[in-house]
Amino acid sequence: MIGLLVGAPLLGAAVLLVGGRYLERVGHWVATALAAVSLVLAATLFFDMLGRDGEDRALHQHLFSWIPVADFQADVAFRLDQLSMTFVLLITSVGTLIHLYSIGYMEHDPRRRRFFAYLNLFLAAMLLLVLADNYLLLYVGWEGVGLASFLLIGFWQHKPSAATAAKKAFVVNRVGDVGLAIAVMLMFTTFGSFAFEPVLAGANETSEGTLTAIGLMLLLAACGKSAQVPLQSWLGDAMEGPTPVSALIHAATMVTAGVYLITRSGAIFNGAPDAQTVVIVVGAVTLLFGAIVGCAKDDIKKALAGSTMSQIGYMMLATGLGPVGYVFAIMHLVTHGFFKAGLFLGAGSVMHGMNDEVDMRRYGGLRKYMPITFVTFGLAYLAIIGFPYLSGYFSKDEIIYAGFSKGGAEGWLLGGVMLLGAALTAYYMTRIMLLTFFGEKRWQPDAQGHEPHPHESPLSMTIPMMVLAVGSVGAGFFFDQGETFVHWLEPVTGLGHGDSPVSHGMVALAATGVMLLGVAGAWWQYGRRPVEAVAPSGRWITRAARRDLLQDDFNHAVLVRPGNYLTRGLVYLDHKLVDGVVNGTAASFGGLSGRLRRVQNGFARTYAVSMFGGAAVLVAATLLMRAV
């Protein structure tokens, strides 16, 4: 049953890729149906799980032994507990909606079948990642997600920028993957097993140093997949992929994997406070980094990408807080999955109606032309900025409250950073809203003289947006009602209570206050007066943020250029030294044989002389030896 959950989309990917053009006309429906099959299975398992009590809810399924060698046991086995279940429901539901949306969005693409095959592969890999019951199988899913993201980001490979972005995402992710590989190896040497149960149970009796090492390696892996500083640079460029892919990467799959990994490995982090501190720092830095970048971008998708980075920063920070934060990290992850998918699908719908224009300064006043997109995008917008009683309000406030519970100066610092992040979130999201849907129309004919005719998207695209909007609005309230979500996850992640210097109510009040401040700031800049269609050059901070706070320049200066020099030096050494020795030896033997060759002149009498000479030498030597 659990295997089927992964198997359905995997089968879809295989059939669509192998089936060739015979499936051209039905391929997208096959893929969507198989994603829906996974969703139905997940729902069945979910209701089945609800029928049991807290501790008994986890299901295990041992499929087969993958690599059985003496003590080394690598199994293909699944574990479905409350944490996996949450992810499975999110992945399959958002995934299915995005499949449905893509049918409309990719309608005119000649390679639509292939696109859906990759989407299915993406789902299968992500499901494998969250369902695995050991770290080795998780690693397989981890790599599968990396592969699928590479294929999808570079889907329009005829554009050099897309091909480069795909490569960049893949390479940056590899850096993180190395961390996961090392962590898995460390686990095996320390605990003698990969499976979650022995590893997490054994974490109590292991030295803090080992746990810190494993924790930091896991964090490196999480940074790669979840686009956290310092491995964040791929996320913005990944916007080169088709918009449904961005939605899938940002909401349901890929970037959530890092948060899952750390939450799943909670027992390890709980025993390694130093590693937890690093997680918190990474989360806090990323949450501001992403928010600042999001404030400056004029490309609607890149602004949303900055927002994702920032929101995942919140989740990372929460996981770094330990049992106080795990539950709320996952809760924010789920609510974020809804509203971020809604925002990206909305952005895709806008681009669909605007001849694929992404510059928000070329939009304006679209609320009249795209009413459904406007309303769904608007609801998701209210959810993400934390408008009271929408889903972002509940999950984000809980994380901020957990930050304050850290206690002391650190608590105030974390809480302050997160409130600042909340203000920035409100600012950049309002900016997107105002630039896109309000104000005067600012679009112009493109290079070929086609004036865009903004229009509402087809039903296959708007229905998923409506469903997601409902989720954005209601999920938080539903989760918070009687602390449903907390009780649901508690058996897996544990739950801690810190003593916060401020009450829940005050946090909610402060968060709402800074949110209003951010909205007002954005309105002051972009709502009050008409917006220029060409971006002004701006101050140094704006220019830096437009360049992603110089992340690429930094990577180039620190990593790429020295790397280039190193490889060039090595190539030079290879040519001169290694090749020199080899070629020199060959040349000297060649020259020697060329000289020796002259001895073979074909004259029988010359040979006879050498024979006689040789014989004479032999005789002389014999006689000489006798004499001595």
Binding site: R597, Q600, N601, G602, F603, A604, R605, A608, V609, F612
Partner: protein, 99 residues
């Protein structure tokens, strides 16, 4: 007469043969000189047999004769074939076997 004189004769004949092989160009003459060297060696073998009073040397001489006979057959055949194709029996003309 002392048998040593036969050894001197044998050495003389061998030297004549060797000089002939090295200096003459006509293949037939070179060939005859080779025979001369073989027979000089035979003479030395028989002489040693006599000097040491056993038959080993004589037996070896018979072997040499057999080998020489076989060599004559093959050698003459080659010379005749070369002469037919090149109209020359000079050993220096047949110098194509080189790099």
């Amino acid at each position: 007469m002392s048998p040593e004189n036969y050894l001197y004769l044998s050495a003389l004949l061998f030297t004549l043969g060797a000089a002939g092989v090295l200096l003459r160009r006509n293949a037939i003459v070179v060939f005859m000189c080779v025979e001369l060297m073989l027979n000089a060696a035979n003479l030395a073998l028989v002489t040693f047999s006599r000097m040491h009073g056993n038959l080993d040397g004589q037996i070896l001489a018979f072997f040499v004769m057999v080998v020489a006979a076989a060599e004559v057959v093959v050698g003459l055949a080659i010379i005749v074939t070369v002469y037919r194709s090149r109209h020359s029996a000079s050993v220096d003309d047949a110098s194509l076997m080189k790099l």
